[in-house]
């Protein structure tokens, strides 16, 4: 019998240790796994690699990650704090306590999708001819210079969805799926918080992400 439901935050996050690489869904305020992030930041783990679209939102919602220096490396499309003064993560970067890799957003999404789809590397024209391509392997296809990009995978993916069933099937609301749908395919352990766990199985037409990609689902009201 398949049952991926877990009872509480502790069970949802069990087994995540120091040094883990963690993909986090979310674009704007949509698809943010606020409860899981809150729980994770309270575990006091160090040396984490965070793979997410924009790091500034994480500092705004969960400053403890940065107050305690839990994060060692960030892979992101936007590594810039709000306002004029540098944000905490920017100061840690300047102090050499945190490193980052900046990736164009589409390449970021495609690298994660590749990680889930068994594509170890692919070529793309995005970033060719820019500073991001310097020192990178480049090659022409159809008279267009392309950059070689490698797949992104992670130990853990944290997502938010609207509904789940015991099989781990997910239904997303609005633009909630964003990076999470691909992240679930690219992580060894995918943990999802949802507004509602249905006793009824989701009908096939409502399954946006098949349960094969999900290991744990937790019911939790939306938390920004």
């Amino acid at each position: 019998m398949i049952d991926k439901r877990v009872d509480d935050l502790q069970a949802a996050l069990a087994g995540i240790g120091p040094g883990a690489s963690i993909m986090i869904s979310g674009f704007g305020n949509a698809g943010i796994p606020g409860n899981l992030l809150h729980g994770l930041s309270g575990m006091g783990l160090s040396g984490l690699t965070m793979i997410l679209n924009a790091i500034r939102r994480l500092e705004e919602s969960n400053p403890v990650f940065f107050a305690e220096g839990q994060i060692a490396h960030v892979i992101t499309t936007a590594f810039r704090g709000p306002g004029q003064a540098p944000a905490a993560f920017e100061r840690q970067w300047q102090d050499g306590k945190l490193t980052f890799e900046i990736v164009p957003q589409g390449t970021f999404a495609e690298r994660i999708r590749a990680g889930g789809a068994g594509v170890p590397a692919f070529y793309t024209p995005t970033a060719a001819g820019t500073p991001l391509a310097e020192g990178r392997e480049q090659r022409d296809f159809n008279d267009q210079t392309c950059v070689l990009e490698t797949a992104l995978t992670a130990d853990v993916a944290l997502l938010r969805a609207e509904k789940a069933d015991r099989y781990g099937n997910l239904f997303f609301r609005g633009t909630q799926s964003n990076f999470g749908a691909a992240m679930a395919t690219a992580a060894r352990l995918t943990i999802v918080e949802v507004e509602e766990i249905s006793d009824q199985t989701l009908p096939p037409a409502q399954v946006h992400l098949p349960g094969i990609y999900v290991q744990r689902v937790l019911q939790a009201a939306r938390k920004d």
Partner: protein, 232 residues
């Protein structure tokens, strides 16, 4: 004395070039204003790179859903015929050449079409790229809205970009507060072709404000924009 266009007037002018039936992605800042000014008899699908094709107006009251946002994190609605999908599918749409036009902001555009619209060099700040490189490399046509000159009077239309590139040789058309210009890569090193110029500005003045070779189209016209209240 010539009056440069306002932000909304520049966006209005860019919107006039969006054809009926076009699939369009609007960058943050001035470009998103263009959605307010497309002629009402044209059906245009606005794409948002976080996963919407067919962005509708900003949500009001009971329409507001915090889980339905556009790429500017605005809470939006969906227009008739819209669809939603995940980021990988959304960028596949961009990168696969399916978006007809993207309108982006810019720091600099070179006469060969090079675009610079991100900057890793803000002191003490990390870089911010987002989806601009994908849009610049992937859209069928890249249009740029930006002021013609920097605050201290320097040229933004240049021979070679001094800022880091977003993508090489991608820009087709630039809307500034002074003119509408096409990129012409035919001339050695590239040049700009002025298509429209605001009333009261002389060709010499426009040429002086442009840091790259500039020619005037034989049918170069006056760029007349309506009076517009400044938008959001």
């Amino acid at each position: 004395m010539a009056t440069p266009l306002t932000r909304d007037q520049m966006a209005w002018r860019a919107a006039q070039d969006l054809p009926d039936g076009a699939y369009v992605n609007l960058g943050l800042g001035m470009p998103v204003l263009a959605a307010n000014y497309a002629p009402g008899d044209r059906e245009i699908f606005y794409h948002s790179e976080n996963g919407i094709l067919g962005v509708g107006p900003v949500a009001q009251g009971a329409e507001i859903d915090p889980e339905l946002v556009d790429a500017g994190s605005q809470r939006v609605t969906l227009r008739d015929g819209a669809s939603v999908f995940d980021s990988a599918a959304s960028f596949a749409m961009i990168r696969g050449g399916h978006i007809d036009i993207t309108i982006l902001g810019g720091f600099q555009v070179a006469g060969n079409g090079d675009l610079a619209n991100w900057d890793a060099k803000v002191p003490n700040k990390g870089p911010l790229i987002g989806g601009a490189m994908d849009l610049a490399a992937g859209a069928k046509a890249v249009h740029v809205i930006m002021r013609h000159s920097t605050r201290d009077g320097g040229a933004r239309l240049v021979t070679t970009c001094s800022y880091p590139l977003t993508a090489p040789a991608c820009v087709k058309r630039v809307y500034t507060d002074l003119a509408v210009l096409d990129v012409d890569v035919g001339l050695a090193g590239g040049s700009f072709v002025a298509r429209e110029i605001i009333p009261g500005l002389s060709r010499e003045e426009l040429t002086a404000a442009t840091g790259a070779p500039l020619i005037f189209a034989p049918d170069c016209r006056e760029l007349v924009a309506p009076e517009l209240a400044e938008g959001t």
